[in-house]
Structure formats: structure tokens, C-alpha cells
């Protein structure tokens, strides 16, 4: 009876035929005809011409036929709004039907018909259904409110549906509660500042009770909603955790992950010495491991989340290394994720096992997987020093296999090992050099060239090796060209006598024959350095390199915190904040973890639990294009060279940021200032070209402190040739955040009618010191103790002659809280608050008669200490 022929072409004749069948007197024939219509609709054919005929079939007591007609209506009502009105009467009638299934069906379908005129008629039936005696109707009506809100938010508010929905949270039926929670959460997302969900201990208690009784899906809605609540104190936090932990044994993985999210979040508030804190940590590991026996797709979601959890709280899974061993038949996406987690969990205790596994993986079939395994061996070497030797020998074994991509990958990681442990493993260079000819990937070639340049003095035929690369210089990728240039300059500085010719050759190739500006610029810099001051050249080019960090590709802490708040969701799968892939207003709210021991003064701080942030200001029109361009990689190759000669206080005077040569005649210089609590970027634009410049716009790349233009660039008149204009651009600190190196680096794009230009500049971090940075004495003491000593850094400021340091510092929003004199030494205690809420505490030691001051800085984010010290130096010395 249900067999319906699929026909893939609806011709006019067929439409006519269907029309006749739809208007038939026989019920069966009618039904079959509607089925045929739906079948055509599914495969994407336009059967909207049958609208009136199908709607005529709606008035029937046959529930199955009714459902089919409704399905058709949902699909086509929007394209035929006037016709859709014809259906309203039946809907309204159905909402009064004695059968609850029909009442629910009517209200459910009506909400799906997205026609304005219909929504007006929907209000009355919906109001009745929300108070229906039957829970099935109520739970359907609850979702319908969310549907209506999506079509017409104002209408929902005016009609008071939100209050009714809130009342449903206290409903006796758990499924009604769950759907009401889901609907409210969705509506609240589009009103980030409203107090819609009004979570307080009473309502939380109701939710927790419903949690025990509702369906698996309802439990997910409730847990996801709970995760938005911020408990008032650690005791409330603990009692919620206690009631959520049983969910970890649920068969539905989504319930488990949502419970993990709530626990991970609320755990932040528990004191670490509490017994319960340890118990909770232990309880989290088994369910996470169990998720790995789910279907592969869910394993993937679980692994992406475990990756975050391991970064946030490595202690939870530190003993579970074995479960992440790759199985031969795992799908590739599971294999790659497992490998990532294995590296994160690698430690001295388990490194032998991990290495044995990795070596096994390096012989598998999938190229991506093998590469990642080889790379992982290198990362182990860098992470666990004791294993470095074994890793290097494993890599050498792999190089012996002569499998092309394995060799190349191995060379790339060996370069990093050399960086991390200089002068330790150079004995292997000979083996590496043997494979020189087989390298065809730019990254591997660049790595090999770097090695040759770096150890030129130990490789007898370094000049020959490098010369061999030089032959096809112009066919190489930029990465290789730049590396080759630097390597030959290094070689020259180490063995000046034999390699003069070679260096001249490469410099002329780079500067004269290349059309890549980066390469030319680097070439010129070397050329000038070498010709004017070879000693300085040696200092710059052969300078000691900073150590590379142990953990690579860690997620930046604030992003990690946000992602922890999104465990189980798409954001945690993508490892991106929702704002990166969700359009419109939803998901713009940044979620944060609660801080330990915080008292939440404003009761019922609804969504997110954190103070609502102002939405980042958007630059109008042309700015958007600029923003997209900025997401591309900026040509930042030159930066490391410039950093060495940029001293911090120089920035206070206007500096040339963008020379006219690089920007088709536009020269930009500038400086930063903080006036009345607003950061100003003072720009001087000079037109050194022959034509008039117009349509200026500015955009920043993401940066460490979220600096962003607070308004458009005010260049109203066109800039004629040889004209100069001074502009002051107010900056806000609510833009997108990404950690930069150095921390105070800012990458800027400026657009005019000619082109888009990029430059980067550094702002003094004192711009970010806010006016209310004075800490209470007691708080200062407590905070000072609370910050671990590892985060303390000490600096010397030399040749300082000042009478009153504190007054001078206060001008820069560095506040002196207390002063103490111990044995002729003045100890000044100071506090600074950065615009993103980071506190820096300082202790300045001044000894009478000694021009050298000692300063100790303590901060929860120790990265900023260096920048803050530079500010001190700048302020005190001026």
C-alpha cells in the first residue's frame, strides 16, 4: 500500500494528472496522489502549482493524509503566502480537536509555516496549547514558542509568551520542562543581555530534579543550560556537581559529554585542597575512556574534546596513555586525533612505550598519518629531554628506510631538535646530507638548508652543498629562497675567505633578479650590513636564538577556556570559538570559566555568567573587505630582523611604520598615546606619490590585547601629492584576540584607492594600563601570595636618577600601594591592571645612592612581564 513509484520528471501532463487525482472523490486515490506529490517534492521538483488542490485535501479525519498535506504546506507556504491563509481555519479548528495528538500536530505544523500573516492567527491557539491539560501538547507548544520567536521576536515578547515559557520550567512533566529549557536557551542566545533564563538556586534545583526523570535528549538540553549558570560559591558548585556526576554513567555519549562540560566548568570554583575535588578528578577519567568504544564518528567528537580537556587538566588522563594507541582499523580521522593526544600525554614515565608505538605507525600506509607520526617523534624529543637521544636514533632509522616523505618529514623535525638542543646531535648531519638530493618539498629543503647554514663550520663542503641549491634559485619557493639567502650569509660570516663569490651571487640573485619584495628587502639588509659593518652583521645574523617552546600548537589559554565552556558542541570539534563559524548574533557571546572563590554579587547573572561584553565595533563598508584580506598570512618574514634594533622607548616618538617605497608612495608614521582613558593611535600620513589618494580605511589583524579601531579612519579630504595629514584614531580593546610575538606587536592594514598595504608596529604596553588599576592593600597581599613563584621575574634598571619614582609612574597608571624601608632600601609595591583584566604586581627596590633599581614582577600571565619591564624602564629613564 505504501509503494509509491518514484518518478523523476514531472511534466505538464503529469501535473494535470495529479490534479485530477487530488480532486478525486475516492479517499485512497487522493492519498496516493498526495504521496506522489511529496515524492516529487523530495527530489527537488517544483510541484507548487498544485497548492490549492493539495490544501483542499486538508480537511479530513484521516490523520495520515493530514500529515502529508501538512508536510507539503511547510514546504511551499512561503512561496504562496496568500494561498497559505486558506489553511488557517483548519489549523485553528485542529487546535481544538479532542485528540491531543491532533492538537499537537496542528500547533507543531503551524509554527513551521513561516508566513507573517499566519503567525497572527497562531497566537491564540498557541496560548491555549501552552496551558493544555495534556503534556504532549504542552511540550510541543513550548518548542513552538521558539519557532515563533525565530519568525517574529517582537510578537513573542508582546504576547507574553516568554513568561508562559518560564512558568513551564516548573511544569510537573519532565519533558515539558526540558523543551521549555531548550526553547528559552535558544531565545536567550539572541538576547545576550536579557535576564531571560533567570537561573537562580531555586530554578537550578527544579532543573536538577527534572534531569533525573526526562528522556536522554531532555537531559542534554538541561545540562547544556546548567553549564551557563555560575554558582554563587564553592558549596553550591559542589552540590550541583554531586547531582550531575551520576549522568557520567548514561549510555548516551552526548549526555556524558554535556555532564563533563558542567563538571569541568564548576570544578574551577572548588578549592584544590578539597577532598571532593580529587574525587571528582578521578571520576572524570573512566567515562572519557568509555567514549572511545563508541561508534567512530562519536569517537572523533570525543577525541577532539579530550584534546581540550588534556590541555586544561592533564592530570585527569595522565595514566590512560594506552587507550589512545591507534588500532589498525580505526578510521583515519580517529587515528590522527589519537596521535595528537598521545603526544600531549607523553612524559618521562611513558615515553618508551610511546616511542615504540610511534615507530610502528611510521611504517603504515596512509601518508598523512605517517607524516604526523614522524613529526610526533620529533615533538617527543623536544618535550621529554631524556628521550631526545632515543628519538634521534629512531628518526635516523626511519631515514634509512629511504621512503621519500618519511625522510623529508624527519629532516624537518630534526631541525627543531637542533634548535632545542644545540651542539648535541650534530654527529647525524652527515647522514642527513646524504639525502639531500631526494628532498623535493619546500619545507624539507628549507630545513636542510637551515641546518647546513647553521653548522657551516662543521660541514666541509657546505659551500658546495649550498651552491648546488643556488642553480635553480628562481624555481624555488619563497621559503627556500629566504632560507638559502640567510644560510649563505651565515656561511660567509663563518668562512669569509672561500665564499665571497657565493655570497655576491646570492645577493645579486635576491636583490636584482627577484620580484619578491620580501626577498629583495632581506637581500638589501644583508648587503648593507655586510658592506657597512661586518661585525654588526655577525652579531645580528649569528645572534643566539631564543629557545623553542616545549609544547607546540597549544591552544591559547583564553580560547581554551572558552572552548571548555563549549564541550560537546561544534566549537569543540572545530577548536574555534562559535563566532568563527556562526553567522549573525548567535554565539557572539564569549563564554568564560568562573574564577575560583568568586562571589557573584549580582544575583542571577543570566547567560554566560560573565559580564556581557560590548560587541566589537564593525568598520563600515569597505572595512569588511580589508578584514578578509587580513586573515591571510601577513608577510611577516622581516619582523625578526627589525625587532633586534627596536628599543621600547623609541616608540613614544613618531616612527616610520610604512616607508613610501613599500606602499606606492604612501608613508605612514605614528605613535600611541593614552588620553582620558582612551587609547589613541596618532597617525601621520604623507603622500609622496604623484596622484591624489582617497578612500582611506584601516583594519587591524587579531592581536594579543584585542586592539581594534573604535571608529573609521577620519581622512575626509583627499590627500594630494606631497601633502601630510595627521589623524588620531581612537582604539577599543574588545576586538578579536590572538597571541602575537612579541606580545605588543600589532599588524595593520591600510587601504586607499590605490592598494592595500600591510605593516606592523609595536605599541608600548603602558597604553593598556587602565585608570582603576589601584589594588586594595589586603587584596594585593593575598594576590601576591597566591601567584606561584614560578611566575615571578626579576629585572635590573640601570642608571636611574630620580627623586620620586612613584609620582612619575602614577602618570602612566602604575599605582604605588605601599612603601616600606628596610635597611636603607626602599621597597615600593605597585599594581597595574591591563585593559583585558590581567593584574601585574610589582616590587621595586631602590637603594639610596645606587642608580641601579631592581624590580620583581608577578603576574598570572607571565608573558607580559617583559613588556611591562620595558615600560618601567622607559618611564623611569625619561
Amino acid at each position: 500500500m505504501r509503494s509509491v513509484m518514484f518518478r523523476f520528471h514531472v511534466c505538464a501532463g503529469e501535473i494535470f494528472e495529479l490534479k485530477a487525482e487530488l480532486n478525486s472523490d475516492k479517499k485512497e486515490k487522493k492519498k496516493e496522489a498526495v504521496k506522489k506529490v511529496i515524492a516529487s517534492m523530495t527530489v527537488g521538483k517544483d510541484v507548487s502549482a498544485l497548492f490549492p488542490d493539495v490544501v483542499n485535501c486538508m480537511q479530513t479525519d484521516n490523520l495520515e493524509l493530514k500529515k502529508l498535506v501538512y508536510l507539503y504546506l511547510m514546504n511551499y507556504a512561503k512561496s504562496q503566502p496568500d494561498m497559505a491563509i486558506m489553511a488557517v481555519n483548519t489549523f485553528v479548528k485542529d487546535c481544538e480537536d479532542p485528540n491531543p495528538l491532533i492538537r499537537a500536530l496542528a500547533v507543531r505544523t503551524m509554527g513551521c509555516i513561516r508566513v507573517d500573516k499566519i503567525t497572527e492567527y497562531l497566537c491564540e491557539p498557541l496560548r491555549k496549547c501552552l496551558k493544555d491539560e495534556d503534556p504532549y501538547v504542552r511540550k510541543t507548544a513550548a518548542v513552538c514558542v521558539a519557532k515563533l520567536h525565530d519568525i517574529n521576536a517582537q510578537l513573542v515578547e508582546d504576547q507574553g509568551f516568554l513568561d508562559t515559557l518560564k512558568d513551564l520550567i516548573s511544569d510537573s512533566n519532565p519533558m515539558v520542562v526540558a523543551n521549555a529549557v531548550a526553547a528559552l536557551s535558544e531565545i536567550a542566545e539572541s538576547h545576550p543581555n536579557s535576564n531571560l533564563l533567570d537561573l537562580n538556586p531555586q530554578s537550578i534545583n527544579k532543573l536538577l530534579t527534572a534531569l533525573n526523570e526526562c528522556t536522554e535528549w531532555g537531559q542534554i538540553f538541561i545540562l547544556d543550560c546548567l553549564a551557563n549558570y555560575t554558582p554563587r560559591d564553592d558549596r553550591e558548585s559542589q552540590s550541583i556537581c554531586e547531582r550531575v556526576t551520576p549522568r557520567l554513567s548514561h549510555a548516551n555519549s552526548a549526555v556524558v559529554l554535556s555532564a563533563v562540560k558542567v563538571l569541568m566548568k564548576f570544578m574551577e570554583m572548588l578549592p584544590k585542597d578539597l577532598d571532593y575535588y580529587g574525587t571528582l578528578l578521578k571520576k572524570l577519567a573512566p567515562p572519557l575512556v568509555t567514549l572511545l568504544s563508541a561508534e567512530p564518528e562519536l569517537q572523533y567528537v570525543a577525541l577532539r574534546n579530550i584534546n581540550l580537556i588534556v590541555q586544561k587538566r592533564p592530570e585527569i588522563l595522565k595514566h590512560e596513555m594506552k587507550v589512545f594507541f591507534v588500532k589498525y582499523n580505526d578510521p583515519i580521522y580517529v587515528k590522527l586525533e589519537k596521535l595528537d593526544i598521545m603526544i600531549r600525554l607523553a612524559s618521562q614515565a611513558n615515553i618508551a612505550q610511546v616511542l615504540a608505538e610511534l615507530k610502528e605507525y611510521a611504517t603504515e600506509v596512509d601518508v598523512d598519518f605517517v607524516r604526523k607520526a614522524v613529526r610526533a617523534i620529533g615533538r617527543c624529543a623536544i618535550k621529554v629531554e631524556q628521550s631526545a637521544e632515543r628519538c634521534v636514533s629512531t628518526l635516523l632509522d626511519l631515514i634509512q628506510t629511504k621512503v621519500n616523505y618519511v625522510v623529508q618529514e624527519a629532516i624537518v623535525v630534526i631541525k627543531d631538535i637542533f634548535r632545542k638542543y644545540p651542539n648535541k646531535y650534530e654527529s647525524v648531519i652527515a647522514t642527513l646530507c646524504e639525502n639531500l638530493d631526494s628532498l623535493d618539498e619546500p619545507e624539507a629543503r628549507a630545513a636542510m638548508i637551515w641546518i647546513v647554514g647553521e653548522y657551516a663550520e662543521r660541514i666541509d663542503n657546505a659551500d658546495e652543498l649550498l651552491e648546488s641549491f643556488l642553480e635553480g634559485f628562481h624555481d624555488e619557493s619563497t621559503q627556500v629562497q629566504l632560507q638559502l639567502l640567510t644560510a649563505i650569509v651565515k656561511l660567509f660570516l663563518k668562512k669569509p675567505t672561500e665564499t665571497q663569490e657565493l655570497v655576491q651571487q646570492v645577493l645579486s640573485l635576491a636583490t636584482q633578479d627577484s620580484d619578491n619584495p620580501d626577498l629583495r628587502d632581506r637581500g638589501y639588509i644583508y648587503w648593507r650590513l655586510l658592506s657597512t659593518d661586518p661585525v654588526a652583521a655577525k652579531e645580528v645574523v649569528l645572534a643566539e636564538k631564543p629557545l623553542i617552546s616545549e609544547e607546540t600548537d597549544l591552544i591559547e589559554p583564553t580560547l581554551l577556556e572558552e572552548l571548555i565552556c563549549h564541550i560537546g558542541t561544534l566549537a569543540s570539534v572545530y577548536h574555534k570559538p562559535p563566532s568563527a563559524f556562526v553567522e549573525g548574533s548567535r554565539g557572539v557571546m564569549h563564554k568564560r570559566l568562573p574564577a575560583q572563590g568568586t562571589e557573584c554579587p549580582d544575583v542571577g547573572n543570566a547567560a554566560g555568567g560573565s559580564a556581557p561584553e560590548a560587541a566589537p565595533s564593525i568598520i563600515p563598508s569597505q572595512g569588511d573587505l580589508l578584514g578578509d584580506l587580513l586573515n591571510l598570512d601577513l608577510p611577516a618574514v622581516l619582523l625578526p630582523l627589525f625587532n633586534t634594533n627596536c628599543s621600547s622607548y623609541g616608540i613614544l616618538y613618531p616612527q616610520v611604520w610604512l616607508p613610501a617605497m613599500k606602499a606606492k608612495g604612501l608613508e605612514i608614521s605614528g605613535t600611541f598615546a593614552r588620553r582620558a582613558g582612551v587609547i589613541q593611535m596618532e597617525l601621520v600620513l604623507t603622500n609622496k606619490a604623484m596622484s591624489v589618494m582617497t578612500d582611506f580605511a584601516i583594519q587591524f589583524n587579531r592581536n594579543s590585547f584585542g586592539l581594534a579601531p573604535a571608529g573609521p579612519l577620519q581622512v575626509l579630504t583627499p590627500l594630494g601629492p606631497n601633502q601630510t595629514i595627521e589623524v588620531s584614531l581612537p582604539l577599543s580593546t574588545v576586538g578579536p584576540v590572538m597571541k602575537m610575538d612579541p606580545l605588543n606587536n600589532l599588524q595593520v592594514a591600510v587601504k586607499n584607492n590605490i592598494d592595500v598595504f600591510y605593516f606592523s608596529c609595536q605599541y608600548p604596553i603602558s597604553m593598556l594600563f587602565v585608570e582603576d588599576g589601584k589594588m586594595e592593600r589586603q587584596v594585593f597581599l593575598a594576590t601576591w601570595k597566591d601567584i606561584p613563584n614560578d611566575n615571578e621575574s626579576q629585572f635590573q634598571i640601570q642608571d636611574c636618577h630620580l627623586n620620586s619614582a612613584s609620582n612619575k609612574l602614577q602618570g602612566s597608571n602604575i599605582f604605588t600601594i605601599a612603601k616600606r624601608t628596610v635597611e636603607g632600601q626602599d621597597m615600593l609595591y605597585m599594581s597595574i591592571k591591563l585593559s583585558n583584566g590581567i593584574w601585574v604586581l610589582a616590587e621595586l627596590k631602590v637603594q639610596a645612592g645606587n642608580p641601579n633599581y631592581t624590580i620583581s614582577l608577578k603576574c598570572r600571565a607571565p608573558e607580559v612581564s617583559q613588556c611591562v619591564f620595558q615600560c618601567y624602564e622607559a618611564v623611569l629613564k625619561n
Binding site: W217, V256, F325
Partner: protein, 440 residues
């Protein structure tokens, strides 16, 4: 939430398309087809983002199910829902195939309307759904029937209806375990775990209150002496060592089990759904009885010959019999010929699968058997070495490799007059191989 759900056949033709949200357009259907189904490369992720639209997909035989969204949805929930959708469809019309989907498309739309509202999953228990979405058209229900349906769909015990009656109250418990092993060539256990399931088939009248007990270490230790005698009485079945109790790493339960009670007292109490259900899943890693040990020996004789010898040893009571034993020994891609000699069972080289498959029908405990093979290789100039995939094994044994034993399953039905003693109970243990691999 879920913005839409599409079902495609292997060619990428749409069989079912249901859109719940306005932000999902018809072009989303094509985007998935072009970028995933017709993609040249193998699928690298079950979640795909195409032009700010996220697609979640699962595949059943050659049918693709894809859920679409533009929001930051709960990803775990979407996949759980897709699996559930497959279960529901299977329960209604059997295997998920193109033909079955085409023949039942009206039913599928009806189901999708019921279990997904505005993208929010609703009650998806087949038992409840079958009371009002039937394949034979809706019967006109009486008023009581209607309200019974709605209260079941939304109720606290959504998985069971009232008024079930059986003349004979009977229940069957199956303890199904799959034992997983990864062993190094030297015989060192790299990882081993058992993932088990307790499946219950019940034919009980009324709303029976059940309590399930097993030899969980935590419970036994708590009970102390009192529990020991009971243990002796109940623990006759099973084949492995004489373990008193087992340590369970983790377990998850069917939604009928009261989780808060388990959390507090570690007792498993529930009102079961009628018919079959998976009561619990568990995982153990300690003291696993590995039913078989595989000892491989691979010798490369020159460049064109390989000698393989594999010994398997059974490691359980001699009175028990393992069944359906299959050992799969991978061979290199350039194999030209294979000669096999085995003491027991049948062995065959399967060129299409690049493996020697050795099958033994039955094998008692504490025995061993051996196979040796000579593999002729074609000379190749391929520099890449053969990756040597692990030797894998399949089998079935009549005991639980984790050592789990059912101690009791008590049934109380306060309203009807049958007692725990009147219920006929059956328990069965089956241990199967999961991924049981030995590297060579």
C-alpha cells in the same frame, strides 16, 4: 540545533530531505553531494564545514545520512541522534537500503516529524513510537488510548506502557563480551580491554521493579563476609579462573536504570522496557582472561620468499569449547603463491584480501595448534617496505573473559500477584573477539 536532515543513496541522489530551519537552503543538499559524496579523496572527517554550514554524516551500507546546521550545536547529540534514527528505521522496516527507504518514505517523514521538532530531538523510543505511528495506518483510538499514548511519550517511564500481561513470566539475560587485545611480536600485552554488554529480554507482566546484581568488586568488598556465601551459590557458571569479583572501570546504563541510585549505593534498579533492551555496557581492563595466545614467526628468506609460522594456544578450562575460530595472516601485496600446512582446520590463501585465512570449527581449552606457510614473492623495485599489518583473530567462547558473573536479578511487582520465584530466568555468557591483534 539541527537545521535539516538529508538521506542520499550511494550516487548522491536525495531520497529524503527534511528542512527544519530557514537558514538551510536547497543548495545545502547539493553542497554535501558535491563536497563529500562525490569528493575524490576518502572522507577525512565525519564533520564537514562548507561555506559556514556544518554537515554531520554517518553511512549505513551505501546510504548516507547527513544532518545539517548553521549553529553551534551539540555535536555529540547530533551523532547520537543519527544513530538513533538508524535504529528506529531498522526497527520499523528492517535493513536500511535504498529500496526500503523509497518504499517507506511517507513513514520516514512521519517519524522525522515526530522525533525531531524544530531540530530538537524528542522521544525516540521505538516502543513508544510504535503505539501511534504504525505501518498500517492510524486506527481510531478511544479517548483513554489517546491519553495513554501521550502520557507514555512524555512520561517518566516513556519506555514501557501499562497493562502488559503474560501468562508465563520469563526473562533472559545475555552477557555478551568482546575482548580486545593488541600484543607485541614478543608476546607483551600492549593494550587489552573487555567491552561488555548485558542484554535483557523480558516478558514480564505489569510494571515490574527489577534489581540486578553482579560480582562487582566494589559491592562485594562492601558486603564483606555476608556476600561470600551468596557468591558461592550463584557463581557456578563461567569458565575462567576462580575470581571472586572483578573491577569494572566504567559502566553506562540504559535510560531505565536509576543513575542517582547507582551513584549513591551502586545498586542497579529499574523498570525494564518490554522485550529486548541493552541494560548496561561496561569496560574492564584488569585480570582479563585472554582466551587465545598467538605466537607469530616471520622470516624473510632472500627477497622473494617469506616463511611464516603461527602457533595459537587456547587458554581456558579444557572442558569448554571455543567456536568459529579464524586467524587472518596478512601477506605482502606482491605475493605470487602460497603453500600452507596446518595441523587442524582449513587454511586458504585469499589473494583478493591479501591474507591467509585459517579456520577452525572447534577447539577445546589448553590446546595448541600450528600453521606454517611459505610465501613466494614477485621481485619488485618498490623501495617501500611491506608494512606488516597485525595478525588478527576471531573466535567465540562460552564464558565471560572479564570474569563477570551475574549474581541475581530480582523481580518485584507489588500490584500483581506473582513473586520473584515464579519468574523463569535464563543466563548465558558469550565472549567474542573484538579487535584481537598480534603484531608480527
Amino acid at each position: 540545533m539541527i537545521g535539516g536532515l538529508f538521506i542520499y543513496n550511494h550516487k548522491g541522489e536525495v531520497l529524503i530531505s527534511r528542512v527544519y530551519r530557514d537558514d538551510i537552503g536547497r543548495n545545502a543538499v547539493d553542497a554535501f553531494r558535491v563536497n563529500v559524496i562525490h569528493a575524490r579523496q576518502q572522507v577525512r572527517s565525519p564533520v564537514t564545514n562548507i561555506a559556514r554550514t556544518s554537515f554531520f554524516h554517518v553511512k549505513r551500507s551505501n546510504i548516507w545520512l547527513a544532518a545539517v546546521t548553521k549553529q553551534n550545536v551539540n555535536a555529540a547529540m547530533v551523532f547520537e541522534f543519527l544513530y538513533k534514527m538508524c535504529d528506529v528505521m531498522t526497527a520499523y522496516f528492517g535493513k536500511i537500503s535504498e529500496e526500503n527507504i523509497k518504499n517507506n518514505f511517507v513513514l520516514i517523514y512521519e517519524l522525522l516529524d515526530e522525533i525531531l521538532d524544530f531540530g530538537y530531538p524528542q522521544n525516540s523510543e521505538t516502543g513508544a513510537l510504535k503505539t501511534f505511528i504504525t505501518q498500517t495506518g492510524i486506527k481510531s483510538q478511544s479517548k483513554e488510548e489517546q491519553s495513554q499514548i501521550t502520557s507514555q511519550v512524555t512520561g517518566q517511564i516513556g519506555w514501557r506502557r501499562e497493562g502488559i500481561k503474560y501468562r508465563r513470566n520469563e526473562l533472559f539475560l545475555d552477557v555478551l563480551e568482546s575482548v580486545n587485545l593488541l600484543m607485541s611480536p614478543q608476546g607483551q600485552v600492549l593494550s587489552a580491554h573487555v567491552s561488555g554488554r548485558v542484554v535483557m529480554k523480558s516478558y514480564l507482566s505489569g510494571m515490574p521493579e527489577c534489581k540486578f546484581g553482579m560480582n562487582d568488586k566494589i559491592v562485594i568488598d562492601k558486603q564483606g563476609k555476608g556476600g561470600a556465601s551468596e557468591e558461592a551459590a550463584a557463581g557456578k557458571s563461567g569458565g575462567g579462573g576462580g575470581k571472586q569479583s572483578i573491577a569494572i572501570d566504567d559502566c553506562t546504563f540504559h535510560q531505565c536504570v536509576r543513575l542517582s541510585k547507582f551513584d549513591a549505593e551502586r545498586s542497579i534498579s529499574f523498570i525494564p522496557p518490554d522485550g529486548e533492551c541493552e541494560l548496561m555496557r561496561y569496560r574492564t581492563t584488569k585480570d582479563i582472561i585472554l582466551p587465545f595466545r598467538v605466537i607469530p614467526l616471520v622470516r624473510e628468506v632472500g627477497r622473494t620468499k617469506l616463511e611464516v609460522k603461527v602457533v595459537i594456544k587456547s587458554n581456558f578450562k579444557p572442558s569448554l569449547l571455543a567456536q568459529k575460530i579464524e586467524v587472518r595472516i596478512p601477506t605482502p601485496l606482491n605475493t605470487s603463491g602460497v603453500q600452507v600446512i596446518c595441523m587442524k582446520g582449513k587454511a586458504k590463501y585469499k589473494a583478493s584480501e591479501n591474507a591467509i585465512v585459517w579456520k577452525i570449527k572447534r577447539m577445546a581449552g589448553m590446546k595448541e595448534s600450528q600453521i606454517s606457510a611459505e610465501i613466494e614473492l614477485l621481485p619488485t623495485n618498490d623501495k617501500k617496505k611491506w608494512a606488516r599489518p597485525p595478525i588478527s583473530m576471531n573466535f567465540e567462547v562460552p564464558f565471560a573473559p572479564s570474569g563477570l558473573k551475574v549474581r541475581y536479578l530480582k523481580v518485584f511487582e507489588p500490584k500483581l500477584n506473582y513473586s520473584d520465584h515464579d519468574v523463569i530466568k535464563w543466563v548465558r555468557y558469550i565472549g567474542r573477539s573484538g579487535i584481537y591483534e598480534t603484531r608480527c
